[in-house]
Amino acid sequence: MQIQKYTGDQAELNPYNHTAQDSFAHINTNYVFEQTKATTVITAKYLSAQELNNRVFMPVALRRKN
């Protein structure tokens, strides 16, 4: 796995963000479906009784930029 370091000099990948064109027409509904399944998996996993030895504060956004 590679960790990609944010460098701040790349273009925003969603060209419609914060515009009136950020609309349903520009949403990939299959992609939202898959993302929702991912959220379901990780939530169900951590709601179950597994050892979480270290407290983790999680500033992670499941976020799409292209």
């Binding site: 590679q2 990609q4 273009a11 949403i27 999680m58 500033p59 956004a61 799409r64």
Partner: protein, 274 residues
């Protein structure tokens, strides 16, 4: 300890703000040109049959219906009244309808739902908080966050804010539906915040209102923001950890978990942007 935890929560808020605006006001990262570092390979977990069973309950039609309703593509109906949402600006009528819709949906699923009034930096609105109490360790909470509000940057009345962040809201609503049929050991908290576009105001207010014991109960927080745009259909999924070392480790762990399941996604861990 409270200050330390508040620091982390504040960091969470700051990161979301930075992600929305870009580091130092610059445009945001793209994975194609990002500086890459090789991390140790993470063990890939085997899929759990129980979670596979839960996963089978996720329905795309409900996600699409919610997304259309929250973005004004179709009427948003609450009880017998239907509305067309033009935008979901903090303090707006459209956002008020969206909150009512979320409350109605989550209440009907059996969640304990509360509205949390907040006022900060000249803005006022409400967060919606839904809770499903754990059966074995209810004092350990897992948080999912998405922001209901949108932003308006021109005179156009219609600002659907579909990707940012109706996509995250419908994600959490569907997760709530699917998980409502099961019992879990830990407590699930779904935080639908407002005022995000003005500086993560709703989340910051929520954190400020938590007691020490409530803060201690939190095991992790995932913010689901902008999960709807994938023009090239490559399924790339970005997990932003900031520079917080435990979060980076956790993001790697999440990536490994997601890859173990039959999902059409390619997780990428993005660090930095402090």
């Amino acid at each position: 300890m409270k200050n330390l935890r508040l620091f982390h929560w504040t960091l969470l808020g700051s990161l979301l703000l930075v992600l929305a605006l870009g580091c130092a006001g610059l445009p945001l990262a793209s994975s194609s040109t990002a500086e890459a570092a090789t991390a140790p390979p993470q063990p890939q977990a085997a899929p759990d049959d129980f979670i596979l069973q839960i996963l089978a309950g996720v329905r795309q039609d409900r996600i699409v219906n919610d997304l259309k309703a929250l973005t004004g593509e179709s009427p948003l109906c609450i009880e017998s009244a239907c509305y067309t949402v033009q935008n979901r600006l903090t303090g707006s009528q459209g956002l008020s309808w969206a909150k009512d819709y979320v409350v109605k949906e989550l209440s009907s699923l059996g969640y304990s739902v509360t509205r949390q009034d907040w006022s900060m930096e000249g803005f006022s609105d409400q967060n919606i908080i839904a809770r499903k109490t754990g059966t074995q360790v209810p004092d350990e909470a897992i948080y999912l966050v998405a922001h209901l509000d949108g932003v308006k940057t021109t005179a156009d009345e219609r600002f659907p804010s579909a990707d940012d962040d109706a996509s995250g809201v419908v994600d959490l609503l569907e997760v709530a539906r699917v998980l409502s049929a099961y019992s879990f050991e830990r407590t699930l908290v779904l935080l639908f915040s407002t005022g995000e576009e003005q500086g993560v105001l709703g989340v910051r207010s929520h954190v400020n209102a938590l007691s020490s014991s409530e803060l201690s109960a939190i095991r992790y927080v995932v913010s689901v923001d902008m999960v709807g745009y994938d023009a090239n259909d490559d399924g790339a999924m970005q997990l932003w950890s900031g520079d917080n070392a435990p979060s980076l480790t956790f993001a790697q762990e999440l990536s490994g978990i997601i890859q173990a399941y039959p999902l059409e996604l390619s997780p990428q861990v993005i660090s930095g942007c402090t």
